[in-house]
């Protein structure tokens, strides 16, 4: 492109310098806050004051950071779920629904099984069953993708709406197993006490946060070291190479998608053993599944980066929620606007990581008269 006397060119980099891996997301965050600030100012809120309050309620106060870690716990799981599938160029965008199913499955286990088990077994059982039901929800899209090549993007997404209505049905539409029988108020039936973790002190952070972080580290290590991790990365780079090397594409696709679904299901299960203790339609309002996709994309599918990004995003959400209770309430949706903008800027910024921007002066060729 030539503007005036300058030629602007993008030169592909052979390798990106390390600092750019941090600079691009950090820059995106700054630009996203500027965009959010414009909308805040247009709707009559002070951007500086709003962001100050958001940061203190989300990150820097002790109440804020523990709330943030509590919310980040399931978000780390949905982020890992999205990142895991992305690694093989599979786009599971049904984390939202898989998480709901995980909540339903784990609540079932917490009500029906946990009473017969000691505490040390009850919580793991509930978590595992939650993960399994999450995986179950991605089974159909996974089979379709592996056997027929149907795009998993739309099929996983459509099932989100089915799962959403399923939760509504269990709580509002029927007086069945998941509904609290002791009250006419529509709410979930509580799971057994043995199936629940106690939070740390009086905070809203639960021991599940440790599980989530350990899981991220374990996945990071596993995908780097194992044969399975190697095969998925070969398959992602070049499906044909993988096929010629005798790797089983069907099996890989199935296992990656099912495991991704299990991770999303685990997010729902962690919500049950932690703060909720029942099938809680409140989860439908938070959008942790969709946010997980943004987290994964922003973390560039790096499992350890997912943890940090999830904490960052949970803080936006927690801080955003606090803004609603003030004299001039700011809708919590500002958190979602910020999330979307961060991702848009990060996507745009990628090109500057992969390419070097060169601006050269063009030599004016003057035609002799």
């Amino acid at each position: 492109m030539i503007i005036g006397n300058f030629r602007i060119e993008l030169e592909p980099r052979l390798s990106s310098p390390k600092w750019l891996y941090l600079a691009v997301p950090a820059g995106s965050l700054v630009f996203a806050f500027i965009v959010g600030g414009i909308f805040l100012a247009l709707t009559g809120h002070s951007p500086i004051g709003t962001y100050g309050s958001l940061i203190s309620h989300g990150y820097t106060s002790s109440k804020g950071i523990t709330n943030t870690l509590g919310l980040a716990t399931p978000l780390i799981c949905t982020g890992l779920a999205a990142a895991f599938a992305f690694r093989m160029n599979l786009f599971n965008i049904g984390e939202e629904g898989q998480m709901y199913l995980g909540m339903i499955g784990s609540a079932w286990a917490g009500i029906a099984l946990a009473g017969h088990l000691p505490h040390v077994l009850a919580v793991p059982t509930v978590l595992i069953i939650g993960a399994a039901t999450g995986a179950f929800w991605v089974l159909l899209p996974a089979i379709l993708r592996a056997k027929l090549g149907t795009s998993e993007i739309v099929s996983t997404l459509l099932l989100n709406y089915v799962a959403l209505n399923l939760v509504n049905y269990f709580i509002y539409g029927s007086r069945g197993f998941f509904r609290d029988p002791t009250t006419s108020f529509p709410q979930g039936r509580g799971v057994e006490e043995t199936a629940r973790f106690h939070s740390f002190g009086t905070s809203n952070t639960y021991p599940t946060v440790i599980i989530a972080v350990l899981l991220a580290v374990a996945l990071y290590w596993f995908m780097k070291r194992s044969n399975f991790g190697y095969e998925t990365s070969v398959f992602a780079d070049s499906p044909n190479t993988a096929r010629y090397a005798g790797m089983n594409a069907t099996k890989l696709t199935l296992s990656v998608l099912l495991f991704s679904g299990a991770l999303a299901g685990l997010a729902g299960a962690m919500y049950v053993v932690g703060p909720a203790g029942k099938v809680d339609p409140g989860l439908l309002q938070i959008g942790l599944g969709y946010a997980g996709i943004v987290v994964a994309a922003l973390a560039r599918y790096n499992f350890v980066a997912v943890v940090l990004t999830a904490i960052l995003f949970a803080g936006l959400r927690v801080g955003g929620a606090s803004l609603q209770i003030s004299s001039n309430p700011v809708p919590i949706a500002i958190a979602v606007v910020l999330q979307g903008s961060v991702l848009l800027f990060a996507l745009g910024g990628e090109i500057f990581r992969r390419n070097r921007l060169r601006i050269r002066r063009v030599q004016q060729v003057s035609v002799a008269s």
């Binding site: 739309v154 709406y161 809708p331």
Partner: protein
């Protein structure tokens, strides 16, 4: 049961189909150029909230719809810059648009949440035609946009199949290198059609709000219609005229839950009936995935692939 109710359901299905047709044609134009824009749901929501807010402020129907179109154009431009100029991943960029549009529509729509719609797109009365029993209400009781949309689908079909720019568009989706070799800018063709598609999606959202929506509510307004439109693109095999038939069919599944509820027919709980459009869409996707169906469909070959001349 009253047969009138089912006539009205059919009529409503055809009416709802308008928004699906507009969004689907928008997506078809985009995808034919080789760009996949998953942001439909986000653009629909932004179009809807814009129409509501502008309508609320000015009570001017045309201005409201015009602004919806502009918002659609703006969002599609973002997608085009990201995916065509900056070569970002098209899937992720589309998802980012959905999240951004969901958040922003909820944010700017918060003050009017639950307020009933300020201006209405009224159905036309076509004299004697509308009075014909059965056929009248089903075919001749809609608003002007429904008919314009049908005409638009026809124009779009002619454009794709009978004109030179249409040929270039199809070639851009199938073999961008050839188009490039002919001296036509692939990026320009993609930019124009992505933005044109966004304009139609924005209009789809605005129309839906002012013709079908009763009150603004972020959670209940489009409610997944954008994703259904994306499935419809496959169902229509990337052909605008087939989108009409598909849209009416899907419009029917969207309308039936309301009819059943209104008639207090409780064969199934309402939450289960609400799943119908999504389950039906999924079934159609599955049916279209068999190798035989796939061959007949003919998706643009380079769909989702950025075009870089240097790397060839």
């Amino acid at each position: 049961m009253n047969s009138n109710v089912w006539i009205l359901t059919f009529a409503d299905a055809i009416s709802i189909a308008t928004t699906l047709i507009l969004a689907t044609i928008g997506a078809i134009l985009t995808e034919r150029s080789g760009v996949i824009n998953l942001g439909v749901e986000g653009i629909l929501l932004m179009g809807a909230v814009t129409a509501f807010l502008v309508g609320d402020g000015t009570h001017n129907l045309w201005l409201a719809l015009f602004m919806s179109v502009l918002v659609g154009v703006a969002m599609a431009t973002v997608h085009a810059i990201l995916t065509i100029t900056l070569r970002a991943n098209q899937i992720v960029a589309g998802l980012a648009l959905v999240i951004f549009g969901t958040g922003l529509s909820q944010y700017i729509g918060k003050p009017v949440e639950g307020k009933s719609r300020p201006v209405t797109i009224e159905p036309m009365h076509l004299g004697k035609l509308s009075d014909i029993p059965v056929v009248g209400p089903i075919l001749f009781g809609h608003d002007i946009f429904t008919y314009l949309t049908w005409a638009g689908a026809l124009v779009c079909s002619l454009y794709l199949n009978r004109t030179r720019p249409g040929l270039v568009l199809r070639a851009t989706g199938d073999a961008p290198a050839t188009v490039d070799a002919q001296g036509v800018s692939v990026a320009m063709v993609r930019f124009v059609h992505t933005i044109l598609g966004g304009a139609l999606m924005g209009l789809a959202g605005g129309w839906f709000m002012l013709a079908r929506g009763t009150a603004w509510s972020q959670a209940a307004t489009t409610n997944g219609i954008g994703w259904i439109a994306l499935s419809l693109v496959v169902f229509a095999a990337w052909r605008p005229l087939r989108a009409i038939a598909g849209a009416v069919l899907f419009g029917f599944t969207l309308q039936v839950p309301y009819t059943l509820q209104g008639q207090q027919i409780n064969i199934l709980p309402p939450e289960i009936v609400q799943m119908l459009p999504f389950v039906a869409t999924l079934f159609v996707l599955v049916a279209l995935s068999t190798p035989r169906a796939r061959k007949l469909l003919g998706a643009p070959k380079m769909l989702g692939q950025p075009f870089v001349r240097d790397e060839r």
